[in-house]
């Protein structure tokens, strides 16, 4: 690239210094050498595979796929523009945002991968530990540093976790991959109870920061809601607690059976003994070595200081007038914004779920459009949500009409956040080598079935999650309606679960009955939704109605006729 745009001055992203940049350059040089040795035959595929995976390069169904870490889902506009550049130069002009706040490029060539990593390094990004049995990209609340209900800004701690886990000498050959999520808000927007470790940052009565630590949650073949390990870990002991937990897992986690190797199985099998072992590790640690000094927290937190918010008031006249004048705008504001801590500001969710589109896909043109709008309206900052949408975290309420008008021409103003067409979907068998069935076309057909916005609004909050295999990248277990595609004697069939939840009331959905065909699954979803509409109490959401009614009326509607 000839010249990179400047980092927007007010974007609060962690900025690499000379030490970080040198580290990343060394890593790229190492990988460039490894690719060369693969191409010249010095390395066999068996030897090369773990090396490429450690740099995020998978071999998928149709091509190599590069998975790029978006650390805790936070991007500045320079970084997003670079992702657009990479998409256009080395891929087919688009990228796919994932449920782990990463982006995937689906059409990568092996020899291009080192150049793609070099382009990422120019904007302080990498693909390290986006695969392999190590600590993966740490995820957090897409409204971090902005949400009105936030108690502790999780971003400094997420960055500390990112650095601490990078090429960790002890935890790079774990029994299985390891996913950590952290939030600092009482409303859980990170699925904390469904991660290997979920952290909820909070404050005690003295105002000191501490961490509620959940362990052993997860989806996949054995979905389990996590267990609370500690209620309040003091900030100084944060990393020591992570170390101790991972040591117990590394020593005792199962390694023979890949389906029993996640920490959730160990925690389930050990019960209270797991906590005792973690406490023993903590007690044996030398004083000081793993302490997290408050000076380090403060120095990293300085990267995430609030941008220079103007002194504004909520509900400015310009917004009120536009809301009254334009129903489409009012609907978008109602569905696609989230309350902000600063008066007169709001966070805006940009839907990557147009009717009939591929959930989470964005073209290079769209990425650049979002970057332009983030520079104009959001201090040059963007977030990626685990629901596969983008977020402008800090938008003036008075700017909402202009932002709405500017998003529309790019197909980015779909007002469906939290509605039936805001579907989480993994890539499924259209791209993924592990998949047993397609996911994307099912999502497309469901959103087309419910294309009518008024119908979606009437149905209300409803999360439909679709996975194309038991690994559950589409989080189907925790969808209000979850869909799992499996292979049955060469045919794609789809199992449906109901009543899942990924938030504070985390729950694993219940299998409703026999699977549906590829053609029949959309009808089944419609039947479920019609049943809900027929049975709901006034104002009752799908999830609440299901919890009150249980599966009986849904089973009846789906299977009685057969």
């Amino acid at each position: 690239m000839d010249s990179l745009p400047a980092i927007p001055p007010h974007a609060r992203t962690y900025r690499y210094d000379a030490v970080d940049k040198a580290f990343l350059q060394a890593r790229i040089a190492e990988f460039r050498d490894q690719v060369q040795r693969r191409l010249d035959g010095t390395l066999t595929e068996d030897e090369f595979k773990p090396l490429r995976l450690m740099n995020g390069l998978y071999l998928q169904l149709h091509a190599y796929m590069l998975r790029v870490a978006i650390p805790y889902g936070v991007l500045n506009t320079r970084q997003l523009r670079q992702l657009a550049y990479i998409a256009r130069r080395w891929d087919r002009g688009f990228g796919h945002f994932t449920t782990r706040q990463n982006i995937q490029f689906n059409w990568t060539k092996l020899a291009d991968a080192p150049d793609m990593l070099a382009a990422l390094a120019e904007v302080d990004m990498h693909a390290i530990q986006t695969s392999g049995n190590c600590v993966r990209n740490v995820t957090t609340d897409e409204f971090a540093g902005a949400a009105a209900d936030e108690v502790v800004d999780p971003r400094p701690y997420a960055e500390i976790l990112r650095q601490w886990s990078t090429l960790h000498p002890e935890f790079t050959y774990l029994p299985r991959k390891f996913k950590i999520a952290i939030t600092g808000a009482p409303h859980d927007r990170v699925a904390a109870k469904l991660h290997d470790i979920g952290v909820i940052a909070k404050r005690n009565t003295e105002g000191e920061v501490g961490f509620e630590v959940w362990v052993g949650g997860g989806l996949g073949r054995t979905p389990i809601v996590g267990t609370k390990l500690f209620d309040f870990v003091p900030e100084a002991d944060f990393l020591a607690t992570m170390e101790a937990t991972l040591r117990v897992y590394n020593a005792l986690g199962q390694r023979e059976n890949i389906y029993k190797a996640r920490i959730k199985i160990l925690v389930r099998d050990l019960g209270d003994e797991f906590r005792r072992l973690v406490e023993r590790e903590l007690a044996e640690m030398p004083e000081g070595r793993y302490r997290l000094p408050s000076e380090v927290v403060q120095a990293i937190a300085a990267h995430f200081a609030p941008p220079p918010f103007a002194r504004l008031t909520d509900n400015p006249p310009a917004l009120r007038q536009a809301l009254e004048a334009n129903r489409a705008f009012a609907t978008w504001v109602k569905n696609c914004t989230h309350p902000h801590r600063a008066p007169g500001y709001v966070s805006v969710v940009i839907s990557l779920k147009p009717i009939g589109g591929i959930p989470g896909d964005a073209s290079a043109d769209q990425m650049e459009a979002v970057a332009d709008l983030a520079d104009r309206f959001s201090f040059g900052e963007i977030r990626v949500s685990h629901v596969q949408n983008l977020v402008l975290p800090h938008v003036r309420q008075e700017d909402l009409p202009a932002l709405f008008a500017a998003l529309k021409p790019h197909g980015l103003a779909t007002p469906n956040i939290g509605l039936v067409s805001d579907i989480i979907s993994c890539p499924g068998m259209d791209y993924c080598a592990l998949a047993t069935a397609r996911s994307i076309p099912v999502a497309q057909r469901i959103s087309e079935r419910f294309a009518d916005l008024d119908a979606q609004l009437d149905i209300g909050t409803l999360h439909v999650n679709i996975s194309g295999c038991i690994n559950a990248c589409g989080h189907h277990h925790v969808g209000h309606i979850g869909i799992l595609g499996v292979d049955k004697r060469g045919e794609e069939v789809y199992q449906i679960t109901l009543g899942g939840s990924a938030t504070n009331d985390a729950a694993i959905g219940e299998l409703i009955g026999p699977a549906f065909s590829y053609d029949g699954v959309v009808d089944a979803v419609e039947t479920i939704i019609r049943t809900y509409v027929a049975h709901r109490a006034p104002g009752e959401t799908f999830k609440d109605a299901y919890r009150r009614l249980g599966p009986a009326p849904f089973k009846e509607a789906l299977y009685a006729a057969a």
Binding site: L39, R92, K109, G411, A413, R438, P441
Partner: protein
Amino acid sequence: MSAPAKVKPVTAPVLLTANDLRDGRVVWLTSDGSWTLNVTEARLFAPDEAAQALALGQAAERLRQVVGAYLTEAELKNGVPMPRRFREKLRAVGPSVDAEPKPSLSLAS
């Protein structure tokens, strides 16, 4: 990505497929020993040629042409070979969804 290594007796005609080492694209072995992106140009091996086909795949791996070569059952449809398994059909014809950004997404919604 290689398919699960199941050692089953081959009873149907098969194609030899793999991913190209350099770009990862799905490729099929042709009659002249080259690899093609176009499944209709692929060589259909009789069941008793399966071992020979697999050996050709392993040789191509050693020559660093392809990665993860394996056999997949196929049949002739309208005179050209087409794999039987759904997954392999998807590999042969590409994603069933748009693999390019939709022009409509960058135009007025």
